[in-house]
Structure formats: structure tokens, C-alpha cells
């Protein structure tokens, strides 16, 4: 992005950036913070964007990832009492219901309940790695930029996160495994 030459230019460019990213940025924050702080985190994040407007990448997808990185730093700073914290975990919703009424609905719900439980057992580092890929839809290069690590390191981390989730799914507590078989399932 070119250097802003006037206050009017700066405001115009900022409004364009805001329009491009605000919805995705809100979702990014909502995945990682309680609803009561979302608006304040967004305000702090966009104030950084305002001040560093010349640093915002020109390409929309890069700009989106860049604002995610800023929001992540804002969120981590809110947790600075825990100095060891270097990752932001994500909590999935406990509501695993589907909008369909097909014969497989119960099985789908059971599968998602198991998935949510397995997710809760992941480390925050693994949750964060998977979240950037699956929920934010970032490629490795942009996800790595959010985390301030190399793309190779991010891919390694993502590989391990997937394996950890698979392992948790394969080793669900007996109670949840039993529940999975409970819903009645019709067969052709």
C-alpha cells in the first residue's frame, strides 16, 4: 500500500480495509474470545490497523491474514498474566445438531459430538493450527504469517495437529463410544 499522503486519503484507505475484513475479523475473534470482549478486541485491532495502515498488504487475502495477526497479538496481550501462553485455543460449539432430518442425522450428530470432545482435548497450539486452516481457510503461507513462523513449520504443526485429533477420536472414552451406537439408524 502506498504511503498515505493526507488525512483524507488515510481515512478512505482505512474504510476500504475495514469493509474488506471486518466480517471475517469478527469471526476470527469470536472463535477465540468470549462475546463480551469481541467488540473491544476489534476496536483495539482496528486502531492498530489505522496506525500501521502503510504496512497493510495490498492483496486482499494477505491483508485479511495480516489483520488476523494483529488481532491475535491483541488477544494474547489480554492474557499477558499468563506469560507462557503463546497460542490461542478455539472452543467449538457444543451444539452438534444438524439442520437435516435424514436417516443419518443421528449418526452425524454422534460423530460431531465425538469430534467436539476430541477437539477439547487438543492443545491450544494444535487447535490454533487447525483453526487457521479449517475455519479461517488460510493457506500455509498466510497461516504461518499469522503465527509468525515459517510455512514449513506451520505445515509440520498442522500435520501433528491432525494426527493428534485423529488419535483423540480413535481413543474416545468408552462412555462416548457407547453413546455413538445408541441412535437408531435405518438401513436400506
Amino acid at each position: 500500500m502506498n504511503a498515505t499522503t493526507s488525512a483524507a486519503d488515510k481515512e478512505r484507505v482505512f474504510r476500504a480495509v475495514y469493509a474488506d475484513v471486518h466480517r471475517d475479523l469478527e469471526r476470527f475473534v469470536r472463535r477465540r474470545a468470549g462475546p463480551e470482549v469481541v467488540e473491544e478486541v476489534l476496536a483495539d485491532t482496528f486502531l492498530v490497523v489505522w496506525r500501521r495502515l502503510d504496512d497493510v498488504p495490498a492483496a486482499p487475502e494477505d491483508a485479511r491474514a495480516w489483520t488476523f495477526a494483529v488481532a491475535r497479538h491483541v488477544l494474547l496481550t489480554q492474557h499477558r498474566a499468563d506469560r507462557r501462553r503463546q497460542a490461542l485455543g478455539l472452543r467449538l460449539t457444543a451444539d452438534a445438531t444438524t439442520s437435516t432430518t435424514s436417516a443419518d442425522e443421528a449418526d452425524t450428530v454422534a460423530r460431531r459430538v465425538e469430534l467436539a470432545r476430541a477437539w477439547d482435548r487438543l492443545s491450544q497450539v494444535h487447535q490454533e493450527s487447525l483453526g487457521l486452516s479449517v475455519l479461517e481457510g488460510l493457506d500455509a503461507t498466510r497461516a504461518a504469517a499469522v503465527l509468525d513462523i515459517s510455512p514449513v513449520a506451520y505445515r509440520l504443526r498442522l500435520s501433528r495437529a491432525r494426527r493428534a485429533l485423529r488419535a483423540h477420536l480413535d481413543h474416545q472414552p468408552p462412555s462416548s463410544r457407547a453413546r455413538r451406537g445408541t441412535p437408531e439408524r435405518s438401513t436400506p
Binding site: R31, T77, T93, A96, L158, R163
Partner: protein, 277 residues
């Protein structure tokens, strides 16, 4: 359970951001006007308290700079990529490192190879070795304390090396070094030859390390290095490849000066050879 598109669809179905109340357009408009007004006011009063944006303000570690200053030296290859060492490994000062490597369990070997493949896959550009990685097999898989090294080997001199700190609390992938590439004009080593393709010094958050890795002929059964700091450092030798490494920078100039390796052959004889890139 395998990782499928359905797994990702299921995860997305549990996305908390798609449930509950999102901010309305009116609230976003209000937030936008609030930030614009506050930002403009701060611009007009630069001596006032700085905007709180702490972490984003810190100097960013440049991956490119780390690559230049800390990368492991590797052979002249076509499209070689040296993986930048990352800061912040969990094994401080390589405290767990051992001069003699241990093997890996089948599961550890599989996981380490999978991580190495995924780490280098789909990089795009001239350094994209996704196809070679698909065809590569595990030649070396060893453990020295908390540090795991794998070498994936493919046709025409292709190899990919990954050394990671399994104790790293952040992944565990913050402490990771390696190299990947295909040696230009590569020919198989002679029966009693050793040909390095990665040699020199690198660094992680745990400090400097020195590494030698490459290919060996089919009569070479053992490779070791007489370290001034650590005594005899034994390489893993398998499937025509060898790899050894040690804490410290004693191989810093090995690419030019060479490094003396002690070789053991199938007939029980030994020799010392000096190899360089």
C-alpha cells in the same frame, strides 16, 4: 480414522462464529466511526499516550534473515531449499542430545516421516518437491535425546532431511532444521565412497549445531566423526544414507575445509576420509 473432507466439514459445522449473534451492520458502522475518530484524534496529538498495540509492535523475526544467518549449508543442488532454523526449541542447550543415536518405534518413524513430508509439501515455485516427496522412502530415522531426525530418499539424488525437537512445547515444531533438494549431476557413490549433501553449522533456539548427512556406497556400514567436544559421534547409516549431528559449531567451515569421517566397511576394515561439499 483418516483425515477427510468430512472431518473438515464437521469441524466447520461446530464453528462457534457461525452460531449465535453476530454484530449488526449498525454496530459495525458505529465501531468504524469510533475507530476513525479515535485514530484521527491520536494522529493529531502524537505526543499523547501511544495506542496500545503491544505485540504487533515488536520487531518481527524475519524468516529471510534467519535463513541467511543460521541456515545449514548444503550441497550445490538444483533448487535446494535449506529450511530456516526456528527459534524457541524446548530442549535447552541440547541437554538431552546423545552421541550415539537410538532408533525410533514404527509409529515414531511413521509420524516423523509424515511430518517431514507435510512440512515440505505444496510450497509452490522452484522449491516445490511434492511429487518427489510422495515417492520418497525413509532412509534414516533416529533419535538423539529429544531430537528426531529423518531423511527421506528418492530417485536421482533427491533427499529431504528434518530434525525436530520432540520436546518443544509449541507444536512441538518450533525447533526444526533441515534441507531438501536434488543434487545437480548426482551419481550414486562408489561402493566405499561417502558423499555429503548437507554439511556445516546451523542454529536453533537451543544454540548452534553441526551436521553432516549424505549418501554412502553399499560397502559402507558405519560412519562416525571424532568430535573435539563430544568424542565419537556415531551416524545412523541405512539405505545408502547417513546422518549425524552434534551441538556446537565445529563444522562451521567444513564445506570448505572438509570434515574427516571414519568409515567402516562390510569386510570389517576401516578408513578415514575427508569429505567436503
Amino acid at each position: 480414522m483418516t483425515w477427510t473432507r468430512q472431518t473438515e466439514d464437521d469441524l466447520r459445522s461446530l464453528d462457534p462464529a457461525t452460531r449465535g449473534q453476530e454484530m449488526t451492520p449498525a454496530r459495525h458502522d458505529a465501531l468504524l466511526e469510533r475507530v476513525v475518530a479515535e485514530g484521527a484524534a491520536r494522529d493529531a496529538a502524537p505526543a499523547s499516550t501511544p495506542v496500545a498495540a503491544p505485540a504487533a509492535e515488536r520487531p518481527r523475526r524475519s524468516t529471510r534473515a534467519v535463513l541467511v544467518t543460521g541456515g545449514l549449508v548444503a550441497a550445490a543442488t538444483a533448487g535446494l531449499l535449506v529450511l530456516p532454523p526456528l527459534l524457541g526449541g524446548g530442549d535447552s542447550a541440547y541437554a538431552s542430545w546423545t552421541a550415539v543415536p537410538d532408533g525410533l518405534t514404527a509409529e515414531q518413524r511413521h509420524d516423523a516421516a509424515e511430518d517431514c513430508r507435510e512440512g515440505y509439501r505444496d510450497t509452490g515455485g522452484p522449491n516445490d518437491y511434492s511429487r518427489e516427496l510422495d515417492d520418497a522412502t525413509v532412509a534414516v530415522a533416529e533419535r538423539r535425546g529429544e531430537w528426531i531426525t529423518v531423511v527421506l530418499s528418492g530417485a536421482d539424488g533427491f533427499s529431504a532431511l528434518c530434525t525436530t525437537d520432540a520436546s518443544d512445547p509449541f507444536g512441538p515444531t518450533s525447533g526444526v532444521v533441515g534441507s531438501i533438494g536434488t543434487t545437480t549431476g548426482w551419481t550414486p557413490p562408489g561402493p566405499r565412497e561417502v558423499v555429503p549433501d548437507a554439511l556445516g553449522r546451523g542454529s536453533t533456539g537451543s544454540g548452534d549445531f553441526s551436521m553432516a548427512a549424505g549418501t554412502v556406497g553399499n560397502e559402507v556400514t558405519g560412519v562416525s566423526y571424532d568430535s573435539t567436544l563430544h568424542g565419537t559421534v556415531v551416524a545412523t547409516v541405512n539405505a545408502g544414507h547417513f546422518a549425524l549431528w552434534m551441538p556446537g559449531d565445529e563444522l562451521d567451515d567444513a564445506q570448505a575445509a572438509g570434515v574427516a569421517l571414519d568409515l567402516t566397511y562390510t569386510d570389517g576394515t576401516t578408513s578415514t576420509v575427508v569429505v567436503r561439499l
